[in-house]
Symmetry: C2
Subunit: 387 residues, 2 copies
């Protein structure tokens, strides 16, 4: 920048003003401006973000702490978040919460003196107490996505698990299912909500949850399969399974194939998340899908504030314009704001995607029942035609 200043014979301050489009305080010289801009282009000028940040300017960096990128659900989540982030001019810095020892570290590195403008937590971090402690001591805004209900200290956005599960069970029950089992996996928070919703729905349906109908396993396909085997040893056997994630549901489908249980004729399976793979299972998986992009937008909006034209301190933070409006709209679109413990959360309602893994309940006395395969009881649900 000094170069371009001397080159044009103007002072650094002027250059700075011009390059930052700061018409606030003073009108800029029409001609000088052109000259400076031209020079800047010639030199291939790029502002040094560090020098900027030194003055308290936003770093345009968003920290994202994810449990497991390898989980297809979170892979999709990161993609959504990073896409939305970039429309606002932010970049994503990745952090893992894998190893006990590592957690504090990743965090420290990301936080050091507001290196990030905000931090996003993807998934329930309930089992990472130190991380959360550290996070609490910081002044950067932290927002949680899918943190589940446990940690009510951090504001965030979540999916309405109750509604999702209720819809899934409603769908199954409309198909004649009563003996519906549940397989829980992944995160404490989400699992708990989904399971609670399941228990509640079952109370309406059967009065209670039959013993053994709730299986707890790790969130891996192999564990889903194991859970299925356990469920199939029960009597009466369930005729339908609600898996708390698609990953588990995939394991269930695999298990069914291996065990020779026909889906959906003998067993219906519903997943949760609608990961890309859900379209490609055999049969294609009926599942619950949430509005990823909207949720990502909402989370980022909460994190960095959708400042619109800002001007809190009359400083020069009037950068990005265009993208911001679109994001603003998107950020405010949908999502019920609800109190969540001591913080606020924005809850998004998921929708059921009916594919081929659910069908009429097998009924002993009335074999014809199989042929009655009602459309989803929920008119709003999209029908997915794929495979």
């Amino acid at each position: 920048m000094r170069d371009i200043a001397t080159a044009t014979g103007v002072s650094r301050s002027t250059v700075s003003r011009i390059l930052n489009d700061a018409p606030l305080t003073v009108p800029i010289a029409a001609r000088t401006r052109e000259r400076v801009l031209a020079a800047a282009r010639d030199v291939g000028y790029r502002p040094n973000p560090f020098a900027r940040a030194l003055h308290g300017a936003p770093t345009m960096l968003l920290g994202a702490i994810v449990r497991d990128i390898t989980d297809p659900f979170f892979a999709g989540a990161i993609e959504a978040v990073s896409a939305e982030a970039r429309t606002l001019g932010y970049n994503i810095v990745l952090g893992h919460a894998h190893a006990e020892a590592t957690e504090a570290y990743a965090l420290a590195a990301m936080l050091e003196a507001r290196q990030c403008d905000a931090i996003l937590l993807l998934g329930d971090m309930g089992d990472q107490p130190r991380l959360l402690d550290d996070l609490r001591d910081t002044h950067v805004p932290v927002v949680a996505l899918w943190q589940g209900s446990e940690l009510d200290l951090i504001p965030g956005v979540s999916v309405d698990n109750r509604s999702g599960i209720a819809t899934a069970i409603g769908h199954l029950s409309a198909l004649g299912h009563r003996r519906i089992a549940f397989i829980g996996g992944r995160l404490l928070g989400d699992i708990r909500e989904r399971q609670a919703a399941y228990t509640e729905a079952m109370a309406d349906l059967l009065g209670e949850v039959p013993p053994g109908y709730i299986q707890h396993v790790a969130n891996k396909p192999g564990d889903g399969e194991a859970a299925l085997r356990a469920l199939m040893r029960l009597s009466p056997r369930p005729t339908a399974i609600v898996a708390s994630t698609d990953v588990l549901a995939i394991g269930v489908l695999r298990g069914a194939l291996v065990l020779g249980i026909r889906v959906p004729e003998e067993l219906s399976v519903v997943g949760f998340d609608d990961i890309p793979m859900a379209t490609f299972t055999v049969p294609a998986l009926t599942t619950v899908r949430m509005p990823m992009a909207k949720m990502a937008a909402a989370a980022i909006a909460m994190a960095v504030g959708v400042t619109g034209r800002t001007v809190g301190d009359g400083a020069s933070d009037v950068r990005h314009h265009g993208a911001e409006d679109g994001a603003h709209e998107r950020a405010n679109e949908g999502g019920d704001v609800v109190p969540r413990g001591r913080a606020l959360a924005r809850l998004f309602r998921p929708e059921l995607v009916v594919r081929q893994s659910t069908g009429a309940a097998p009924v002993e006395h009335n074999p014809a029942a199989r042929h009655r395969r009602p459309e989803s009881h929920n008119g709003a649900s999209p029908r997915d035609r794929s495979a």
Copy 2:
């Protein structure tokens, strides 16, 4: 930092020296040091990375440009890279190369005046010419992972596709297969190498590639399925399929299930990548696995040089020799250095993982052949027992 200086009555420089553990130039006062460290801890001092970076210090940020995080293979790759990065004290900044318009942007943002110490390209970016142009104009080291052979300008690390395919085909041929087809997907570079290796191996085996035995599709399961359908319309039908990625192979397996083709009795399938899902297909997928962690380490080593950096905040005065040495070792372990166009590449040799999707070729005149299911011809291949 100024606070802690005045608090202890010492000058800033001294504090800086102590906090940075700089015994190089001068011996430090034993007592003063303690005092300063204590004060630092009290204030909860965190060095401001921007001020540091302003002096040309490394930012400890690594840019990672990925085509598609949603691809399970790249999800795993990112995990490996970010794990390795962190043992060296680096953080990963994510960039997508998705949209045409976006690319230049993501890049620009990541580069602006060496915001990143180095840039990692994950996957073949051959179709993003502008990105590559921009990258060429920069002074940050750029290293490519799995760029394929096309772009020989960027140094990088890759998998030895030729060896992988050769091993896979060797395995199939040992099982009696001759009519082996190939399905190519994903990146231009990798596909080309794998396909070339296939063609070559087939020349040895059959003299030529039967017409239609090479299918080109997008790298999605659905496309793998479509390719299978196309292959099954051929005559003679292939008895085995080499898919250029596991994602495609999964589609093939799905297609086989749908079409009622038994795997491996009627059709053997080999994938490439060994994504986590490969264990959970039905039947479990025989595939080619590369040493991810080593490759990630090698790439990072090439990018930042294995400088043995200090990790952590100066305040706590922690140096992580352990991790760093391990990384160093890992970085130099394995991988043949080979010339690659104008740049150097480090090539890692993959290994075949034999699971259940490959079996003896169906032979008309000798049905007993099915029972001869030889162990892998390759003694070094690990046998995977899962499901």
